[in-house]
């Protein structure tokens, strides 16, 4: 019996530690832990509620856009203006969020995940005349392997030409991400930390110029998504098809829903959204989602047990660094006491079983190409594929949305912030379900709670000792080579974890992290 400790896991955002006990070539037990605490929720208390939108974005520089959206929805509901956002404002928010998502998913596949499957070192033997590849070849020849090591060895299977092509796309993808961020900045001012999304709508106004500038960039991204990104994901999926059976996880999927299609319905759970909220399981039945059933448990987290099991609207942050049995700064969010995975896979499958015809036909036609059934989506490769499919769906929808903008009409509505109120903002962030909750008293923030997607996915064991989704996904996995545990990092990265988001609270004492293996 041996222990594999990966700390920190690289090519993710933040500081994640994974500890796996391996017995007879199989993972017996896993602990995934977030190792940083900042206390942002404590910093929110007593401030002007409107500042929440600016502060919460700073939880993370990778997905600030999702936080800006969740905070704006949260404040809209607390200010009683959720049904008064002008269509221009609603649509521009969708465009800002959509631009962030497509840039983020492209980043995830090419710059974070692909290096687990694509062999950049093989470029040493490249003899063609692609300038990007020759530049990388020189880079490798000089021994400057910076972004590509450390890595595991022994399981890079893409044939020579496909491998080279994917590496070339790794380079091209930088340009695509840049364009996606430019799209976002056209309406949001800048990325990271857009300034456009506000309670009441957006600060920017649609003009013929920003619509046109957005659209030509979007068209380029659509071409890349259809002709490069999706084919590359399918090529990797074909060669590594065993990863449709690895990392299944808890099998319970939860989605909050995202992209507002109806500005007149105040209730987020009833509002028509491009991706509907809901729940599904490996048996592919659909259930409605009710936010009242969300709780956060802390038995195995460095927080006082007295705050365990609360709904986020009543949530609190009371640290207990010396707590026995605790191993993470992440809490354990649960739904009705059950473990749920969130993310693009959840959004796609919830909508697949929930009657979203656009999603159903795209999933069916894609799975037909690789000869698989929908159940195969509950896997490492299924998560990567779901992300690519979502990218296409959002990019295609944005073409329609941007053309619905009406230059000259309002995109923002004024309001009077209330003295006493409460709100909730739920959105599908790039990595999954993101929720913000606020209580306002005497015109100030009395309490502000955030549950991020990675808190759901990377959560430690809960009060009933049920492992979190990532822990569950790794447990039972066969490890071919314990010195090169590809299986573990491929599972981890399929969740696209973002730890800066999950633990908004830095331990000044530090903890004994044991053996270091940075991969």
């Amino acid at each position: 019996m041996g222990k594999i400790v990966i700390d920190p896991v690289s090519r993710i955002e933040g500081h994640l530690k994974v500890e796996a006990v391996v017995d007879d070539g199989k993972v017996k037990e896993v602990k995934s832990a977030g190792m940083l605490f900042r206390g942002l929720e404590l910093i929110m208390k007593g401030r002007d509620p409107r500042d929440a939108q600016r502060i919460t974005q700073r939880i993370c520089g990778v997905c600030p856009t999702s936080h800006s959206t969740a905070a704006a929805l949260n404040l809209d509901s607390a200010f009683g203006i959720a049904d008064k956002i002008p269509d221009n404002g609603r649509i521009i928010r969708n465009l800002i969020l959509g631009a962030a998502h497509i840039a983020d998913h492209i980043l995830h596949f090419y710059h974070l995940v692909a290096l687990d499957y694509v062999d950049v070192a093989a470029l040493a033997k490249y003899e063609g005349n692609n300038p990007a590849l020759n530049s990388l070849k020189n880079f490798v020849a000089r021994g400057e392997l910076g972004p590509f090591v450390p890595r595991y060895e022994g399981d890079y299977r893409l044939p020579g030409e496909a491998n080279e092509q994917t590496v070339a796309h790794y380079v091209a993808a930088f340009d695509m991400r840049r364009k996606g961020q430019e799209m976002l900045a056209l309406f949001g001012g800048k990325m990271p930390h857009n300034m456009g999304v506000m309670p009441g709508g957006v600060t920017s106004v649609p003009t013929v110029d920003n619509i046109t500038s957005f659209l030509w960039r979007l068209k380029e991204l659509q071409e890349f998504i259809d002709n490069v990104y999706l084919p590359d994901v399918l090529a990797v999926a074909g060669v590594y098809s065993d990863y449709f059976e690895i990392g299944r996880g808890c099998g319970n999927l939860l989605a909050y829903g995202s992209y507002e299609l109806d500005g007149k319905e105040a209730d987020l759970t009833k509002r028509k959204r491009f991706f509907k909220p809901g729940i599904t399981y490996t048996d592919l039945r659909f259930s409605e989602f009710d936010p009242v059933r969300i709780t956060e448990e802390v038995k195995h987290s460095w927080y006082a047990d007295s705050i365990s099991g609360r709904h986020p609207s009543q949530g609190d942050v009371v640290t207990d660094e010396e707590k026995k049995g605790a191993y993470s700064w992440l809490k354990s969010p649960r739904y009705g006491g059950t473990v749920f995975e969130v993310g693009p896979l959840a959004r796609i499958m919830v909508n697949y079983v929930g009657g979203n015809s656009r999603v159903k036909s795209l999933v069916d036609s894609t799975l037909a190409q690789v000869n698989l059934k929908p159940k195969a989506m509950f896997s490492v490769m299924g998560r990567n594929l779901a992300r690519a499919l979502e990218t296409k769906l959002v990019a295609d929808a944005m073409v329609d949305w941007v053309l619905q903008l009406k230059p000259g009409e309002a995109a923002y509505t004024s309001y009077e912030p209330p003295e006493e109120s409460a709100g909730m903002g739920l959105v599908g962030a790039a990595r999954g379900a993101l929720g913000h909750w606020i209580q306002i008293k005497e015109g100030k923030i009395a309490n502000y709670q955030v549950i991020t997607p990675s808190t759901w996915n990377i959560s430690p064991r809960d009060d009933k000792n049920q492992p979190g989704p990532l822990e569950e996904a790794i447990t039972g996995t066969k490890i071919k080579d314990e010195a090169n545990p590809f299986e573990i990092v491929r599972i981890v990265r399929s969740f696209d974890p973002c730890l800066a988001c999950s633990v908004h609270v830095l331990s000044h004492k530090g903890h004994d992290l044991g053996k270091f293996r940075v991969c």
């Binding site: 002007d48 900045a185 800048k190 000044h508």
Partner: protein, 185 residues
């Protein structure tokens, strides 16, 4: 290893330290009131530990990539900054030498007392809480994300993200008091 020990270990023998971003330069959001984790800026840690390595602050939330690359290239080409190259907060004057307000395309509105009453209105955003008059950075000239836009360009206010303690100065949408304005606004 804690982050504090990383800073101490690496800073001791360095030619210079660049504190990149408002957290490293000034403590940023984690150090905002009540500063739950007792966060400090790199400068405060160096001072407390008696480390005299030259320090350059490149704040911003986020900092503009050009500010960082420009600072590194300037040091490589011209050597360490002379005292007159940095302002009172150790920011390179080349990037932080003027206020947002001095170069703002909406400046003419301010001079003519035409103020936006809500977001999306034409006019100067001063009454909506814009901190352009008290914030040092070249955003209106440099612009962001391949020069497509910037904060005030999308109709928003400047929130003063390059200034020390920017989240504790006042609520972000409260008009900056006239007493706080520099003399020559």
């Amino acid at each position: 290893m804690t982050m504090k020990s990383w800073v101490e270990t690496l800073a001791k023998d360095a030619l210079a330290v660049i504190a990149l971003g408002s957290c490293a330069a000034f403590g940023g959001i984690p150090a905002a009131n009540p500063n739950p984790t007792q966060c400090r800026s790199v400068g405060e840690v160096l001072q407390a530990e008696g480390i005299n390595t030259p320090l350059v602050n490149v704040p911003g939330c986020p900092p503009h990539p050009d500010w960082f690359v420009g600072t590194v290239v300037t040091i490589l080409l011209a050597g360490l900054p002379r005292p007159e190259d940095l302002d009172e907060h150790r920011r390179p004057k080349a990037f932080y030498g003027q206020t947002i307000h001095e170069n703002c395309p909406r400046r003419a509105y301010y001079d003519e007392n035409k103020f936006a009453k809500k977001f999306g209105d034409p006019g100067c955003n001063y009454e909506l809480g814009c901190r352009g008059p008290i914030t040092h950075a070249d955003c209106p000239l440099r612009l962001w994300n391949s020069k497509v836009n910037w904060c005030v360009g999308c109709g928003a206010t400047c929130i003063g993200c390059t200034e020390p303690g920017f989240f504790d100065i006042a609520p972000l949408y409260e008009k900056t008091s006239e007493a706080a304005l520099p003399e020559e606004v």
